[in-house]
C-alpha cells in the first residue's frame, strides 16, 4: 500500500522545525550584520521612566537592584546601561546598587565596563557604589529598607562601607528618592512593591523580561510602580538618552523576527483552511 502523496497544504501546514529555526536565524543575523534602521517609537512607559529620572533634584540618592541572572543579561543589560548613562549625566546624583541575584555583582561590573564609566567623571565610593549580593530576596529588601549598615558592613569587594563618602547619611529606604529594579525574578519585582513602596512609598521603576510585564501591570495601574518596562524596549531609552547601543541594534532584529512570526501564522492558517476546504482533514 503506497502512502498518499503530500499536498501543498500538508507541506505548508507542517513546515519542518529545522526550516523554521533556519528562517529565524537568518532574520536575526542579517539585521545584525546590515542594520536597516527601522524607526523606534517611544512608548508611554519608557518616556515616563526617562522623565522620572530627569525630574530627580540635585542631591538625590537612587537605589538600584541589579538583580538579574546571566540568562536575562542580553535583554536587560542594554536598558540598565542606558539608564546608568542618564543617571551619571545628571549633576550630583548618587547611585547605590545592590543585588538580589548572586550573579548581580559580576553582571554589574560587566555593565559598568560597557558603560565606560570613566567618561562621566564619576568616582566609585563618592558618586556610586555596589554594596554586594544580599541573600534572602524579600528578607534582604526589608532589611536594607530598614538599615543598610545593620544588614551589610562592606561593599561587594569587601571594603568597609564606612570608608566611602557616598554612604554618609544614607542608611534606610527613607534616604532614597527613587528605586530602580532590573530583574529576571517575579519574587524580586513584586517583592520591592511589598517591602519598599508599601512601607516607605519610594517611587519605583521596574525593568523586567518582556514575558513578566503582564504580571507587573496591576502594580503600575495601582500607582505602586511608576513605570514597568521590558528590556526589549532598550532601544527607546537609548534614543532618549542619546546613547545608542545594543538596544537600538536589536530593535531591527525584533521587528524582522516579529514579522517572520506573523508571516508564519498567516501561512499556517492559509494551509489549515486550504486543506479543510479542499476536502482534506485537519
Amino acid at each position: 500500500m503506497t502512502a498518499k502523496p503530500k499536498t501543498i497544504w500538508d507541506r505548508l501546514e507542517d513546515i519542518p522545525r529545522e526550516i523554521l529555526y533556519g528562517l529565524l536565524l537568518v532574520c536575526i543575523i542579517v539585521p545584525m550584520l546590515f542594520p536597516i534602521g527601522f524607526p523606534v517609537p517611544i512608548s508611554v512607559e519608557v518616556k515616563r521612566w526617562y522623565d522620572t529620572i530627569e525630574a530627580l533634584p540635585a542631591g538625590s540618592v537612587v537605589m538600584v537592584d541589579f538583580g538579574y541572572s546571566g540568562g536575562g543579561e542580553p535583554e536587560l543589560a542594554p536598558f540598565a546601561v542606558a539608564t546608568y548613562a542618564q543617571l551619571f549625566r545628571k549633576a550630583d546624583i548618587k547611585v547605590v546598587t545592590m543585588s538580589t541575584s548572586n550573579e548581580g555583582p559580576l553582571l554589574w561590573e560587566k555593565a559598568m565596563t560597557e558603560l565606560n564609566i570613566a567618561r562621566f567623571g564619576k568616582e566609585y565610593g563618592k558618586d556610586y557604589i555596589h554594596i554586594g549580593y544580599i541573600a534572602g530576596v524579600e528578607t534582604a529588601m526589608a532589611a536594607v529598607g530598614k538599615s543598610i549598615s545593620a544588614t551589610t558592613t562592606t561593599d561587594y569587594k569587601g571594603t568597609p562601607l564606612s570608608k566611602y563618602s557616598i554612604m554618609q547619611g544614607v542608611d534606610s529606604a527613607e534616604d532614597f528618592a527613587l528605586l530602580i529594579v532590573y530583574t529576571t525574578g517575579g519574587d524580586q519585582s513584586e517583592g520591592w512593591v511589598r517591602q519598599w513602596y508599601t512601607s516607605y512609598k519610594t517611587p519605583y521603576l521596574s525593568c523586567v523580561l518582556a514575558m513578566m510585564v503582564p504580571t507587573m501591570l496591576p502594580y503600575q495601574k495601582a500607582g505602586q510602580i511608576v513605570s514597568v518596562v521590558s528590556g526589549a524596549q532598550a532601544g527607546q531609552i537609548e534614543i532618549l538618552v542619546k546613547a545608542p547601543g545594543r538596544g537600538v541594534k536589536s530593535a531591527d532584529v525584533i521587528t524582522v523576527t516579529h514579522l517572520l512570526c506573523i508571516a508564519l501564522v498567516v501561512v499556517g492558517n492559509i494551509a489549515y483552511f486550504g486543506k479543510k476546504f479542499s476536502g482534506g482533514k485537519s
Binding site: 522545525r17 540568562g71 544580599i134 528578607t139 501591570l217 496591576p218 521587528t255 501564522v265 499556517g268 489549515y272
Partner: protein, 217 residues
Amino acid sequence: MSIIMKKSVPIALVFITAVIFLLEYFVLPTELKSTVTMLQNWGIILTAFTLGFGAVNMIMFHGKQVSRRAKGQWPYSLWLLIILVLFTLVGVIMGATSTQYSWLYSSSYFALSATVYSSLGFYMTSGIYRALRAKNAESALLLIVGVIVLARNAPALAAQFPILVNMDSWLSSVPTTSAQRGIMIGAALGAIALGLRTMIGRETGFLGQTTEGEKGG
C-alpha cells in the same frame, strides 16, 4: 526525639516570630525595629548558609553517582564536580570579584546561560506557527490577540500603525490587568490563609510532616 522538640517547639518559634513581625509592622514599628532587624539578618545569614548547604548536598549526590558509575549519568556528575571545585577554588583563593573569577564566569556559565535562554526564541517561533490557528472560536480569539501583540511589539510596525499601540494598550490595561488582579488577589488570600495555618500549627509542611488533610484525616 520527643514530639515537643519535633513539633511543638518549631511551631512555637514560628508563632512568636510571626507575631513579632506583625506587631512591628502594624502596631509597634519603633519599639520592635531592632528586634525585627536582627531577625531579618538571621534570615539573610540562613539563606546564605543554604547556598553552601546546597553545594555540599550536590557534592554528596554527584559523588555517589561517580563512585557507583551510574549508567548515563556519571560523566556529567564528574564534570559538574570538576566545575564546582574549580569555581570554588578560584573564588576562595583569588576572590569572587577577581579578574580570574570574572573571566571564568563570563566565558563559561554566563555564555551558556544566555545561550540556553536565547534558544527559547526558536521554540517560541515554532510554537507560534503551530498553535496560532483559527480552529474554533477560542483559538481564533487567541490568534487575533496574539497577532496584535506581536505586531505592536515590532517597533517598526508600531511606528507605522499607531492603532496597534492603542489596541495593545487596551488589551494590557483591561483584560490582562483584570485577570492578573484576580490571580494576585486569590494568591494573596491563599498566602494569608497559609500563614495563619502555619502560625497555629495546622500547616506542618515546613517540618517535613503532612497535614491532617493530606493524611486523609
